[in-house]
């Protein structure tokens, strides 16, 4: 003990080593649990989130599977038989009504699949149009969020990584876009794009998707990446300063190792959750753009364009407006609640 002239205040000789039994008592810990398992447990415990998850899954599966074996298709005008004049008795059917030729067949004992929600003004089965519209809306919401994620992630990580002047410039641009009135910008942008995009994409694969949906994606990409990029920049800035990242660098780890082992695993939950919360947002935007006539191209239905068409016959056929409106509400509400539940379960820090 020569080396330490003043000795520690704690006299180490006064301590006796713990016996094996005591040690065993000390090392007993609660059963090991991973972050993911914990999160899933918390999510399942959250009733509202579980119900929302169930609803989302049911709606999504129905919109994918039902059109495959439904006897009618979304663009088939039932009154239009080859070689015969249009049969107007199929137009504007109420739920569970049948067209003239169908009634005749039924009298002969042939089973006809009912039109659950009736038909629209052109004699198309309304149920399958709603199902198909749901599919389009969900797909647009999903892909728009992916686009937002990709753009936001790229720009946000550049800002966070480079720092300094690059960060400063990017974040000022973000601030500017943030301060624009987004509804107005969305409407202006998509009406301009709707007109100018048509000739550009003519003849390519993109034409099939329709100029309106493309312009919708562009609008999303241009306007909604800002909050995602802010979030990701913040994540990277705070993770970069964590000592475990420094520790990895101190052992000589390369950039790719640090990104895959440290940065991604620690920010992935935040990123996934905010992408999930972006989906209902995108669905809602798609719906109101379609409602304004800026959405999907006819005859493709989306929930918003269905509601918009139904507006004309609102007093006689109110169910055609109410049904898509209810579906939109269910989807947007349950996706939002699910996103909140995911956030509570996987990222308690983000709360508030």
């Amino acid at each position: 003990m020569n080396k330490r002239p003043f000795s520690m205040q704690v006299d180490l000789d006064m301590f006796t080593p713990a016996s094996d039994k005591e040690k065993e008592y000390l090392v007993k810990m609660r059963p090991s649990s991973t972050f993911f398992k914990d999160g899933v447990k918390r999510l399942i415990k959250n009733k509202i989130a579980s119900i929302s998850l169930l609803l989302v899954v049911i709606v999504a599966l129905a919109s994918i599977i039902l059109p495959m074996f439904w006897p009618y298709s979304y663009d088939q005008q039932l009154g239009l038989q080859p070689g015969k004049p249009v049969d107007p008795s199929y137009n504007n059917l109420a739920p569970f009504e049948y067209g003239r030729t169908e009634m005749k067949l039924m009298e002969e004992g042939v089973e006809i699949f009912p039109h659950l929600f009736g038909t629209d003004a052109l004699g198309r089965d309304y149920f399958i149009r709603v199902v198909y519209g749901t599919r389009i809306s969900l797909a647009v919401g999903f892909f728009a969020s992916i686009i937002v994620l990709l753009i936001g992630m790229t720009i946000g990580s550049i800002a966070g990584y480079m720092g300094g002047k690059v960060d400063l410039v990017i974040m000022r641009i973000v601030d500017i876009i943030y301060s624009l009135p987004d509804m107005l910008m969305v409407i202006l942008l998509s009406s301009v794009l709707k007109v100018s995009l048509g000739p550009v994409i003519a003849g390519t694969v993109l034409e099939k998707i329709g100029s309106n949906i493309i312009s919708l994606f562009i609008v999303f990409g241009v306007l909604y990446w800002v909050s995602m990029s802010r979030l990701i920049r913040g994540q990277i800035l705070s993770l970069r300063e964590q000592e475990y990242v420094l520790a990895a660098r101190a052992t000589g780890a390369k950039g790719s190792w640090i990104i895959t082992k440290h940065l991604i695993p620690n920010s992935i939950s935040v990123v996934i959750i905010s992408t999930a919360l972006q989906i209902p947002n995108a669905i809602f935007t798609e719906s109101y753009l379609s409602f304004l006539g800026l959405g999907v191209n006819a005859p493709m239905p989306s929930l918003g364009s269905l509601a918009s068409e139904a507006l004309k016959g609102m007093s006689s056929y109110p169910h055609r407006l109410v049904i898509p409106a209810i579906v939109i509400s269910i989807i947007v509400l349950s996706l939002n609640l699910l996103g909140d539940g995911l956030r509570d379960a996987f990222d308690p820090k983000l709360n508030g």
Binding site: K3, R4, F6, Q9, E243, L246, A248, A250, G252, A253
Partner: protein, 325 residues
């Protein structure tokens, strides 16, 4: 302990650019012209108040920060080129200050400890990797059952042991211990410090042991260096610094340490520091300590005192070291 220095630090400086306005930035001299060397098997304690640049010294030595100027010589070789830094990192590691943020919450203990092994590919089979990790865990007193657990399931002391095991993974010769016990309870501090000593005896390690608390370093250090505002003000054998501190700042640090013996306590002339430590962004001219030094004169404001050997092995940076002692 041999006489050859294992690591030499010559005139090391690290300045940070700090934004003071939208497009204005200023140099923050976190470490300014610091020199010392550590012999093989020796422990150099580095003390100083919070913010004086201790962590920056440790991190700059390991090239986690690029040195602004100065050189680091390890085992006779200059650490400068990319290859030399890579090679250096297999011999020199670090234990971090914060046992919470220094362990990745998404990795298991065995992956954390095994990270240096993975990075340097220090094993030929999965089995060998596992054996190495278990051996490291037993070195630091961790139970092998803990290997598959996540860091958040452990207490601060256990987490620090995990961090120590990680720093031992490459079988280093030199470890920078950055306040490894500051975040721990006093009773656990003693355990962990004893463990550092045991590991040193067993593996012949050389330490740069950072602390802001003299109580902690005097237990483990052979020599002690005192830093103030990015500069080294005194360096001497541990017992020298305790018995005869020469720099006014070291004296004040020592009078802040509680002394168990009341007789010695009474005899000690206490220096109580007044005022706060100045911001390193606008350090005083001349001697950095002059704003709080009871012996300051005009000369102290005019020129920076040289860091010189006043007695064999005892370095001090003070103009008036001869008069005041």
């Amino acid at each position: 302990m041999s006489n050859k220095p294992l690591i030499e630090v010559n005139g090391l400086s690290k300045y940070f650019d700090v934004n003071t306005g939208l497009f204005k930035s200023k140099k923050l001299k976190a470490v300014d012209n610091v020199s010392f060397s550590i012999k093989k098997g020796e422990t150099l304690g580095l003390v100083g108040e919070s913010g004086c640049g201790k962590t920056t010294v440790g991190r700059t030595i390991l090239h986690l920060y690029n040195p602004t100027s100065g050189e680091i010589v390890y085992d006779g070789k200059k650490i400068k080129s990319k290859e030399s830094i890579e090679e250096f990192r297999r011999h020199a590691t670090m234990v971090f200050q914060d046992p919470y943020s220094s362990l990745n919450p998404r990795m298991t203990v065995s992956d954390i400890i095994g990270e240096p092994l993975d990075v340097h590919k220090l094993y030929s089979s999965k089995k060998e990797r596992e054996e190495k990790i278990l051996e490291l865990m037993s070195h630091v007193g961790l139970n092998s059952e803990h290997a598959s657990r996540y860091a958040h399931e452990f207490s601060g002391g256990q987490r620090q042991r995990i961090g120590i095991a990680r720093s031992l993974a490459v079988n280093p010769d030199f470890i920078v211990c950055d306040e490894p016990v500051s975040a721990l309870d006093v009773s656990i501090q003693a355990q962990v410090i004893n463990m550092f000593e045991d590991l040193q005896d067993k593996m012949g390690l050389t330490y740069l042991f950072i602390a802001h608390d003299l109580l902690v370093v005097r237990h483990i250090s052979d020599r002690i260096a005192v830093m103030y505002l990015g500069r080294m003000v005194e360096l001497a054998d541990a017992s020298e610094i305790y018995d005869r501190p020469l720099h006014p700042y070291s004296k004040s640090l020592l009078s802040a340490v509680p002394v168990p013996d009341p007789k010695i306590a009474r005899e000690n002339k206490r220096i109580v520091l007044e005022g706060d430590i100045p911001s390193p962004l606008n350090a005083p001219s001349g001697c950095p300590f002059r704003t709080r030094c009871p012996y300051a004169t005009e000369q102290c404001a005019a020129s920076m005192p040289e860091f010189k050997e006043v007695e064999p092995g005892h370095f001090v940076a003070c103009h008036r070291v001869g008069e005041i002692n």
